[in-house]
C-alpha cells in the first residue's frame, strides 16, 4: 500500500520536520515502494504524479527547485504507463516513478538552460542517453531542476534564474551545483532526481538536503547529452530518499554507451544484491590526516558512523592521504581549463543568445559578456590564463601531475582498505550570501568531494543525522574505481544504523 504518511501536509509542518533526524527517509515514499504499489495496482502512476504535483504547487514558490515543470508531458506519460500496466505490459523497473532532471541534461524539445542566459530558450534536438534510459525504464519526468550556472558553484546561488532554497531551512542554501535536484527530492517534488558531479555537485547538495547522492566511477554512466563543464571530471548520478533507491536508479542508467567515447565498455553492475550483505569483515579507512576546517558536529557524526560499522563487524583501518588538500588547487586549475575550452562553443552562431555587433569577434565578445554570469566568467578567465602560452606548464601541466599524485595516494590507501569514510561537506547548509564575496571560501566547500573526481573513483553521500542548527549531515563513502558494490554495502549498513 502507498502509505499516506505526512506527505500531503509536509508544507505545514516544517518545524516538526526540522526536529526530525530522518525527515527525508521517513516522510515520503521511496522509489521502490512506489514501483511496487503501482505494479500491484495499489495506486496508479497518475495518482502518484498528482501527489507530487500538489506538493510542487504547495511549496515550489518558496523552494524554486525547478527551471521548468513539464506538467502536461508528465501527465501524458503517466497516463500511458497506467494504460500499459492495465493491458498487462511490463513498463520497466521505474514504471510510474516521478523523476526530476538537472537542467544540464538534454531533453528533446524541452528547454535545457544550464541556468544560463546564454542558453535560454534553447531546445535540444536530442535526448541525453541517461534520459533515454530513464524513459525506457518507465520513469515519469516531471521537470528540469535549477543549478549553479553551467554547474559551477556549491550553493546554487549562481543560477541566472535565482537561487534554490533548502527545504529544511529556506534561509539557507541547498548546496550545489545540483541544488535543485537535491531540494526536489528533499521537498517531495519528485521521488528521485539526477544531477551531475564534477567536484562534488551531487554529494554536497545531497548532504546539505538530507538525501542520498551518488557520484559513480568516471565512465560508468554515459555523458552523452550532459552539457559539458569539465569533461574528464563530469559524471551523472542519482539523488534519492534511500540507499536501495540509489542502487536501483544507478543500475538503470549505468553501462556502456557507444555515444560516449569515455564510457567503460562493460554492462551495469549488480548493486541491489549488495545491499543486504552487511559489512562483516570489511576494512573501512579512516583518514588520519584529514584536512582541517570541519564543524565539530559534522566530525562527530562521522565518528558515530565508524562506530556503527565497527559494531556491524567491520574493521577500522587508519590511512593517510597526504595529497588530499592539494586537490583543491589541482581541481580549480583543471576544471576551469577544461571549461574554458568546452564553453568556447557558446559563440552566438548556432544556438542560444546572440548580441549583434559590427564584426564577428565583437559579436562573440558581446554575446559571451552578456550571456555568462560572474562565476562562469571567472572560471573562463582562470582557465584561459592557465592554458595560455607561457603559463601552461606552471599551472595546468603541474595540476595534471598533482592529479596523478592524488590518484596514486588513493590507490595506496585502497591496498589496505575496501572503502574510506569522511565527511561529505565540512559544514551543514549555510545562509545565503555567506560565501559569495570570496570565491576561495566557496571553493573550500568541495575539499572532501573533489579528490574522487580527480582520481575518477566512486563516492556517495549518505544522510546520517544532524549537526549544527539541527541541519542534515552527510557521511561520504569513498570507493576505488568500479567499487560501487562495496560502497553500496557500507552505505546500506549506515542507513540501517540510523
Amino acid at each position: 500500500m502507498l502509505r499516506p504518511r505526512k506527505m500531503a501536509d509536509f508544507g505545514y509542518h516544517r518545524q516538526s520536520v526540522l526536529m526530525s533526524n530522518e525527515m527525508s527517509n521517513s516522510s515520503f515514499p521511496t522509489v521502490i515502494e512506489l514501483v511496487t504499489d503501482i505494479r500491484q495496482g495499489a495506486t496508479t502512476a497518475s495518482a502518484v504524479l498528482e501527489s507530487h504535483l500538489s506538493r510542487i504547487d504547495l511549496r515550489e514558490r518558496d523552494i524554486h527547485a525547478f527551471n521548468v515543470v513539464t506538467v502536461e508531458k508528465a501527465r501524458e506519460t503517466a497516463a500511458r504507463i497506467d494504460s500499459d500496466i492495465a493491458a498487462g505490459i511490463n513498463c520497466g523497473p521505474l514504471a510510474g516513478v516521478p523523476i526530476a532532471l538537472k537542467d544540464n541534461m538534454c531533453t528533446r524539445g524541452v528547454p535545457t538552460t544550464c541556468s544560463s542566459k546564454i542558453l535560454e530558450g534553447w531546445k535540444p534536438p536530442y535526448d541525453a542517453t541517461v534520459v533515454t534510459r530513464l524513459q525506457q525504464a518507465g520513469a515519469v519526468i516531471v521537470g528540469k531542476t535549477n543549478l549553479d550556472e553551467f554547474a559551477m558553484g556549491s550553493s546554487t546561488e549562481n543560477s541566472a534564474f535565482g537561487p534554490t532554497r533548502n527545504p529544511f531551512d529556506t534561509s539557507r542554501v541547498p548546496g550545489g551545483s545540483s541544488g535543485g535536484s537535491a531540494a526536489a527530492v528533499a521537498a517531495g517534488f519528485a521521488a528521485a532526481s539526477f544531477g551531475s558531479d564534477t567536484g562534488g555537485s551531487i554529494r554536497q547538495p545531497a548532504a546539505l538536503c538530507g538525501v542520498v547522492g551518488v557520484k559513480p566511477t568516471y565512465g560508468l554512466v554515459s555523458r552523452y547529452g550532459l552539457i559539458a563543464f569539465a569533461s574528464s571530471l563530469d559524471q551523472i548520478g542519482p539523488f534519492s530518499h534511500s540507499v536501495a533507491d540509489a542502487a536501483l536508479l544507478l543500475e538503470v542508467i549505468a553501462g556502456h554507451d557507444p555515444l560516449d567515447s569515455t564510457s567503460i565498455p562493460q554492462s551495469a553492475p549488480s548493486l541491489q544484491s549488495a545491499l543486504s550483505q552487511g559489512v562483516k569483515g570489511m576494512r573501512i579507512g579512516r583518514i588520519v590526516d584529514l584536512p582541517e576546517g570541519s564543524e565539530p558536529e559534522v566530525l562527530a557524526r562521522v565518528d558515530v558512523a565508524f562506530e556503527a560499522l565497527k559494531s556491524a563487524g567491520a574493521t577500522i583501518v587508519d590511512v593517510t592521504l597526504p595529497s588530499l588538500s592539494f586537490g583543491l588547487t589541482a581541481y580549480y586549475l583543471i576544471a576551469p581549463a577544461e571549461a574554458s575550452s568546452n564553453l568556447a562553443r557558446y559563440d552566438g552562431v548556432r544556438y542560444g543568445l546572440r548580441v549583434d555587433a559590427e564584426d564577428i569577434n565583437a559579436m562573440y565578445g558581446a554575446t559571451r559578456g552578456a550571456g555568462f554570469g560572474d562565476e562562469v566568467k571567472r572560471r573562463i578567465m582562470l582557465g584561459t590564463y592557465a592554458l595560455s602560452a607561457g603559463y601552461y606548464d606552471a599551472y595546468y601541466g603541474k595540476a595534471l601531475k598533482v592529479r596523478r599524485v592524488i590518484a596514486d595516494d588513493f590507490a595506496r590507501a585502497y591496498s589496505t582498505c575496501d572503502v574510506i569514510l569522511s565527511p561529505t561537506s565540512p559544514t551543514v547548509a549555510f545562509p545565503f550570501g555567506s560565501k559569495t564575496n570570496d570565491p576561495l571560501t566557496m571553493y573550500l566547500c568541495d575539499v572532501f568531494t573533489i579528490p574522487s573526481n580527480l582520481s575518477g573513483d566512486a563516492a556517495m553521500s549518505v544522510p546520517f543525522g544532524t549537526g549544527a542548527h539541527g541541519l542534515p549531515v552527510g557521511v561520504q563513502v569513498l570507493a576505488p574505481a568500479l567499487g560501487e558494490q562495496p560502497m553500496f554495502r557500507v552505505a546500506a549498513e549506515l542507513e540501517r544504523a540510523l
Partner: protein, 104 residues
C-alpha cells in the same frame, strides 16, 4: 618556471586573457577579476611545495583505447533541426556578422 609564476596579474594581463577568451568585461568586472585572479593564483602556489619532477601527468581517469564505430550510415540530425536553434539563418545557413576586413 618560478619566474613565470611571479608574474604580476595586472589589468593589462586580464585584458589580454579576456580577448583570448572572446569575453567582454566591464571596467568593474575587469578590476574585480584582476584582484580575484591574483588571489586565486597566489593560493594555488601551495602545489609548488610538491616534488613533481618525475610524475607523469594524468589527463584522464581511466585510459581507454580509441574505439572506432562500424563505418555504416546512421541517422543524424536533419538540416532543418540543426538550423532551428540558430539566432539568424539565411538560405539554409547560419548568418553571422562580417568575418573579414577588420582588425582581430
Amino acid at each position: 618556471m618560478a619566474s613565470e609564476r611571479s608574474i604580476k596579474i595586472t589589468p593589462e594581463v586580464v585584458t589580454k586573457v579576456a580577448r583570448l577568451a572572446r569575453l567582454n568585461l566591464t571596467a568593474e568586472e575587469l578590476a574585480r577579476t584582476t584582484h580575484q585572479l591574483a588571489d586565486m593564483l597566489e593560493h594555488f602556489r601551495d602545489i609548488d611545495k610538491l616534488d613533481l619532477a618525475d610524475v607523469v601527468p594524468m589527463t584522464q581517469p581511466h585510459p581507454l583505447k580509441n574505439i572506432f564505430r562500424q563505418d555504416v550510415v546512421v541517422a543524424g540530425l536533419s538540416h532543418q533541426e540543426v538550423l532551428d536553434n540558430a539566432p539568424a539563418t539565411q538560405d539554409g545557413r547560419f548568418r553571422v556578422p562580417p568575418t573579414i576586413g577588420f582588425d582581430v
